[in-house]
């Protein structure tokens, strides 16, 4: 195998995609092909804003006059560090708030789930006239506060502890790239405040069995020294769970599925490459037991080397 050692390294800062279900916020810097160089550290904050009027009750699409527009906002500080050129560690913790424009339900806010990812690029080689890189990504996330998961759609999260495994391939040729990834998320059960609950039968316990998730996505984009832009398709499938019944409230173990499209852009300031700016938008095309959210995000990051890297001092994009 031909491990490519890029001499021209790029600031590989966070380039997130916000996956929004009814409540879940998952800003994924772990889902791109950008790597930090060894000793390179990048930190920043992203703001995300998601809204929906329509949601799917099972497969039935409807509005709800007692919710109106459901808005979720989050601020997510994130950090990414290059342990080696091919192994990065990253972490983030969003502060989430929810608000319904109609009805009487009280808004919620608080710190949600901390996530830690290791991103490993074991293989990167020339292939045809481009370069193919393969990645293995492992992640862990868990709630940092004991927020109430059974207050959907206003809960700030679902309360599960997650183990995330992802395989990803990235192909770059000239200024174009294509990427695909598949993700399996093992989710822990959650405990709710009630002594019993009904899904498809009555459960006399406060513990809710949470189905796992499968996710895949693909994206196409352009990649230059200072700019990256891409469009992504994402599918999330809950491996189990049940449908919201007609006019019932949503529940953490619902079968939440979605297909979404998103665009992302990242720009590194040419005159001061420590700083890069990101922005994006996303929209759920179809779903099941989720809100049809449309959102945007914007963020700013600062990158630097904590120790001299013998091979490079570049802060530009490294894909």
């Amino acid at each position: 195998m031909n491990y490519s050692r890029l001499r021209v390294n790029y600031c590989a800062c966070l380039f997130g995609f916000a996956l929004m279900t009814l409540t879940k916020v998952e800003a994924q810097t772990d889902n791109d092909a950008i790597m930090m160089n060894k000793y390179q550290w990048c930190s920043g904050i992203t703001y995300m804003h998601e809204q929906w009027n329509n949601y799917w009750e099972g497969t039935y699409k409807r509005t709800n006059g007692n919710i109106g527009t459901l808005t979720t906002q989050s601020f997510m500080p994130m950090s990414n560090y290059g342990i080696t050129d091919n192994l990065n560690i990253m972490a983030g913790l969003p502060y989430v708030s929810t608000h319904a424009s109609a009805g009487t339900l009280h808004e919620m806010k608080g710190f949600q789930d901390v996530s830690i990812f290791l991103k490993w690029r074991p293989v990167s080689f020339n292939f045809g006239s481009g370069k193919l890189s393969l990645f293995a990504i492992g992640g862990f996330s868990t709630p940092t506060t004991n927020y109430e998961p059974d207050y959907l759609p206003l809960s700030i999260g679902l309360g599960t502890t997650n183990l995330i495994g992802r395989g990803m391939a990235n192909y770059k040729r000239g200024i174009f790239f294509a990427r695909a990834s598949a993700t399996y998320v093992w989710r822990s059960n959650v405990k709710i405040d009630e002594v019993s609950y009904y899904t498809t039968e009555l459960y006399n316990t406060n513990e809710v069995q949470m189905p796992n998730l499968f996710q895949f996505n693909g994206s196409l984009g352009v990649y230059t020294k200072y700019f990256i832009g891409e469009a992504m398709f994402d599918n999330m499938t809950t491996l189990g769970g049940f449908d919201i019944r007609k006019n019932d409230m949503p529940f953490p173990s619902n079968r939440m599925n979605s297909n979404s499209l998103s665009v992302h852009a990242k720009y590194t300031l040419p005159f001061f490459t420590h700083i890069s700016l990101v922005a994006g938008g996303d929209h759920i095309l179809s779903g099941r037991n989720v809100g049809q959210s449309t959102g945007f995000n914007a963020g700013a990051f600062y990158a630097f080397y904590i120790k001299k890297n013998p091979k490079t001092s570049s802060l530009l994009n490294n894909q």
Binding site: T84, G138, N189, D193, N204, D248
Partner: protein, 517 residues
């Protein structure tokens, strides 16, 4: 590949987490492994206890059983032996499920049905709402909408019918005194607890018959599921060696006859008219306005008609309809008074920044859409505590009957009060009051949760005096959860609690005089 040295620990950590945190997601329910019912006292004299509707324990005739040496009975015994030879793991699981107590299991099934049907109908395209119809139960919105008043009444009818049926059952058990199959034939294994209780007619079958009939009347869409449960309960009794086929047949017939009596009462207790009609709904508002008060309006979009405005006219179990009015408390503070303003301000101040502990209390007691309702929650609490009391089946039924009569009658007095005053919710008076749970679609004064909880804690404290202060604290918390969540004023809660306790005391009065204490 130097990176592997970094990546390997992550893999190991994930495996370790998965092991420690248990990737096995099986969940344990609180009553999945209850030990077989082993009564400390079989209450052999229960045939003399005071009945609810039956005039006499032998109102329905159960003919004398065949002798234990007769050929039909020997055929019964052979059936049991045959079944016991080839019990599958599934059969054994069902035997141990029902061995925990048939009243307990039927109560759990009932709570499941209530939760399943506790969904408010979805609006029509033009912004009105369809009303579930018992005449057409399979069409959407399926009948019933088992909201709290419906549920309270449903629990009461099932429990009281079970109680009367078991009193009759105990009467005949003592009269005929036929021993259980495992006592007659020592080659038959006793797979449930051995008891001194005669087996004719079978209490499991009496319960299956009476409960299935009551449930079918209350949840008509569920006929097939209910029938299957009844057959399982009866088969478990036979397979366990506790009952012969003839014990079962006699028991089931008795149960069904008793159910018919209660169903006849239910048809004429005014509940079918409780929904009201548009004229009644609008009169409620105009009468309240004429009295100078702000009238309740629905806070839902589209506006939903008030829930069961005439439920306050349903015929109670523990007292007569005239007593309902006498139990109704005086009016709440006038909607234009400084006192009401102050109450609303208290709600507003509370709801601004609720603590997580307050949210927990709200959720714990919310018992809203899709749940077994507050009366169901008190059945849940009662059932868990009754398990450790080692009651006989007939005492289980009696105590749940008293609890559920208290809950239904509390619901009647509460609904009578709600629609007498037609008092607005805090969020109607001040829309800035956001709530930690859905605002129920009926008037504010008095709190249903407080009333149900006051009644339940009073009668449960009578049954288990060592738990009385625990029940009182739970009731107080349930009541306060409605203030904390912003959907009730403090006055709604304190007045509701008092009314509930007053109703609960009627149940206590019955309890001390029904022959069981």
């Amino acid at each position: 590949m130097k990176s592997i040295t970094y990546f390997a620990p992550l893999g190991l950590a994930m495996v370790a987490l998965c092991t420690v945190g248990s990737c096995n997601k099986a969940i344990h329910q609180v009553t999945s492994n209850v030990a077989p019912l082993n009564p400390s006292n079989e209450d052999l004299n229960a045939g003399t206890w005071k009945l609810v509707l039956l005039s006499r324990p032998d109102s329905f005739l159960v003919s004398a059983p065949a002798a234990t040496n007769s050929s039909p009975y020997i055929a019964d015994l052979n059936e049991i032996k045959g079944l016991q030879k080839s019990l599958s793991p599934d059969d054994q699981q069902k035997i141990s499920y029902w061995a925990a107590g048939n009243v307990l299991r039927w109560n759990e099934i009932m709570r499941d049905l209530v939760a399943k049907y506790n969904l408010p109908p979805y609006q029509n395209a033009e912004g009105t709402y369809p009303i579930p119809s018992s005449a057409n139960p399979f069409a959407y919105p399926n009948f019933p909408f088992s909201n709290p008043p419906y549920a309270a009444r449903a629990y009461a009818y099932v429990s009281t019918a079970q109680y009367d049926a078991l009193v009759a059952c105990w009467h005949y058990k003592q009269l005929y005194n036929r021993p259980a199959p495992y006592k007659v034939d020592s080659t038959i294994n006793a797979l449930m607890t051995k008891t001194p209780l005669p087996s004719y007619p079978s209490e499991a079958a009496v319960l299956a018959g009476v409960t299935a009939e009551m449930m079918k009347a209350l949840f008509p869409d569920e006929i097939a599921n209910i029938q299957q449960k009844a057959e399982e309960a009866e088969l478990a009794a036979i397979e366990s060696g506790s009952a012969a086929r003839s014990d079962i047949n006699a028991g089931e017939a008795l149960g069904r006859q008793v159910a018919d009596l209660f169903i006849a009462r239910a048809k004429t207790d005014n509940a079918s008219a409780a929904v009201g009609n548009p004229t009644i709904w609008s009169n409620l508002a105009t009468q309240t306005q004429a009295a100078g008060q702000t009238a309740w309006i629905s806070l839902e979009t589209p506006l939903r008609p008030p829930m069961l405005p005439l439920f306050g006219k349903v015929k109670p179990f523990l007292f007569d309809s005239a007593t309902v009015a006498s139990l109704r408390p005086g009016p709440p503070p006038s909607t234009s008074s400084a006192e009401m303003n102050q109450q609303i301000q208290m709600d507003y101040d509370q709801i601004k920044s609720p603590s997580r502990e307050q949210m927990r209390i709200v959720q714990l007691w919310a018992d809203g859409v899709g749940t077994f309702t507050p009366p169901g929650h008190w059945n849940y609490i009662a059932a868990l505590d009754f398990i450790s009391q080692n009651y006989s089946e007939v005492r289980w039924a009696r105590n749940l009957a008293l609890l559920n009569m208290a809950e239904m009658d509390a619901g009647i007095v509460c609904w009578n009060t709600k629609y007498y005053y037609f008092n607005p919710r805090p969020s109607q008076i001040d829309p800035a009051i956001k709530t930690l749970t859905g605002v129920p679609n009926f008037p504010s004064y008095i709190s249903g949760h407080a009333t149900f909880s006051g009644a339940a804690s009073t009668i449960l404290g009578h049954f288990i005096p060592t738990n009385a202060s625990k029940y009182e604290a739970m009731a107080e918390q349930a009541s306060q959860s409605r203030f904390i969540s912003g959907i009730h004023t403090q006055t709604d809660c304190t007045a509701g609690m008092q009314v509930g306790q007053n109703v609960g005391n009627y149940a206590v009065q019955r309890a001390v005089s029904d022959g069981a204490e």
